[in-house]
Symmetry: none
Subunit: 198 residues, 4 copies
DNA sequence: ACTGACGGGACCACCCGTTCAT
DNA sequence: ATGAACGGGTGGTCCCGTCAGT
């Protein structure tokens, strides 16, 4: 059956993911991936045109997963600030995969600078998230829970903070409890954004 | 004179900086650096034990510069929030070097994951900055301008936001006016941190 | 029906012919042939034991065609010199296929040097042609239209000239009107071979 | 000293020449060349940017040699036909290198079809030779030793014949005494070109 | 201080032919 | 008879660091 093909493919992607996350994209050779995946080079290049193509596919799978996760929690809120806090808390679990796959972010970012195709795939999501937060802020302003500010800027502030936490978590996973910092940061940001009646 | 030695060294470091920033550390060969610096390989390896050693030196020079910049603005404030805002505004100029040298951050981060020596050099400063902000927050609490929160967490929130802005600025320099976002973000954070009298 | 088998075979041979002629034997991969012929690798290796086997088959088909062409014009002459001229003129049409299939000659020659089997198949015809011309010259001497020379050498001279024109035509199809040169050359050769009564 | 460099370079070119002539360009790997030349790959790629670059250099050296040879015999003739015959006879020695380096011709021709750069270098000389013969024929017409024909065509006839002999000599070095055939052919051609007074 | 030829190793991509299932 | 996954191996290129020589 064609089950075998899929299994091989999955072995490759998983091995690649692990190795890229551990040693970086540049320091991981195709031969190493094949060895880890117990697959021949012929098989590898049958499934992926290039090492980079595999990388891009990993990136896309990855982003699709994240999108899925975010879409879920999108509708579970009554109040905008509550919604944001919920999302911040949901991040905790996400940040715990530190060693496994989070480092891939750094790889994606690095490669994005050098390859336009990867850049597009990497950057696009941020814009999407920003738009999402932007509309949340607008909603918050409408419902009176958030003070009047430029929703675009506000959204970018949130995105930047999130990305910053992510980066720190990748660079220094043992250093701090980044989940705590994420929650705390969002709370502070929300306090700063909150509408205040004198 | 021994001037020649220094000039050679400077040519190498400058060429390397430019090439690393443009094409990345991994994609820049020693030969290319030598070609750009109009220097022979022998000269290169006379001044630097390794490609990595050069990289580390660049990193250290870089960090020293940043420290210098930050130290300047440290004493110019009467009020903690004002001080932070001043620093945020000072960042604007810094973020404008986007194309020239900011991309080096990404390179440093990438390599930090793979090499402990670089990791130490790269991570240490964040801790220093965090401590600095932490003491600022303590001062703020003492002077009554900032509400009571864990100074550690607060400081990390600031660092994360700053790092996030930096990363976005590197990845998408044309996308937004990151200086604006930086200022705006700090303002929101300060509003969130401000002590409020009911 | 078993028609399908033959159609597949023909698609493969035709695609291979075109690709070999265009990119050369060594630079044409089996995968490329299969792609062009819209056939899977399985089908290819079902019909041909090896890439080389296909090549040999192409060679043989090719030679059979040429033999057929030459056999036609063999009997239409009354006079040996006239016969040769007629053949030379007949070549014009042949030389016009320059782009399509003539380049295969060069491929055959190249491979002939490296592979004995191909060598035999490629060289044999020349000897046959030489013998043919040799007997023509003998006839010419007998009928008094050609002066007394070693028919063997004379025949080789003709073959060499023909082969030379062919090679030039393959290498520089746009450069000259090789048909003209062929005719002109044969005329000069005939003048040189003609018996002359002082 | 820099003598070493030249020696290495020469070892590479000589080994390459021998291997290309014996096994063909495509079937000779860089590793094999290095092994034969007792040189490391690093040395190889220090001297030649590419396998092809080495090939082109061989081609150019080769052509320069031939040009040199032809230039020598250019002035040794009183009479055009005699000059041509002298050149034909001089060819004998040239054709005797059959095994050593003549096969390179075939390699050059093969590659010329595939690579424009090589094509230029390979084709250009033929045109030069043709021009040379063309002016010889003009001289011959002027001095009355050659009959009136288009010097261009006549020159191409000579070139084609020469190339044809060369090709045959490469393909079937043992088959015939190609030196003889060359001489004989030129004689016939001269008879055909000779002006004849009735 | 500097030169550049050099060693040796690795890496990505590709390619030919086989195998198993259909 | 055909399709697709696969195996194993090679090929060209490049790159880092060294070392003899200036």
């Amino acid at each position: 059956v064609q089950k075998r093909s899929e299994r091989t493919r999955k072995q490759i992607t998983q091995s690649a993911l692990a190795l890229f996350a551990q040693n970086g994209y540049g320091s991981t050779s195709v031969a190493e991936i094949c060895r880890t995946a117990q697959v021949s080079k012929g098989a590898f290049y049958h499934h992926f045109k290039t090492k980079q193509a595999l990388f891009v596919e990993l990136l896309e799978t990855w982003l699709a997963q994240i999108d899925g996760t975010l879409d879920q929690s999108r509708w579970e809120m009554d109040d905008v600030p509550q919604g944001l806090m919920a999302m911040a808390n949901a991040t905790r679990g996400f940040l715990r995969q530190a060693d496994e796959s989070l480092p891939m972010f750094l790889e994606f970012w690095s490669q994005a600078r050098l390859d336009p195709a990867i850049w597009n795939a990497t950057i696009a999501p941020y814009r999407r998230y920003q738009r999402y937060f932007s509309s949340m802020i607008e909603d918050g302003v409408a419902e009176g829970s958030i003070k009047k500010i430029d929703p675009n800027l506000g959204a970018w502030v949130i995105v930047c903070f999130a990305v910053g936490v992510l980066l720190q978590c990748v660079l220094d996973p043992e250093g701090e409890d980044w989940g705590d910092i994420s929650s705390q940061g969002v709370r502070v940001l929300l306090d700063g954004l909150a509408r205040r009646d004198s």
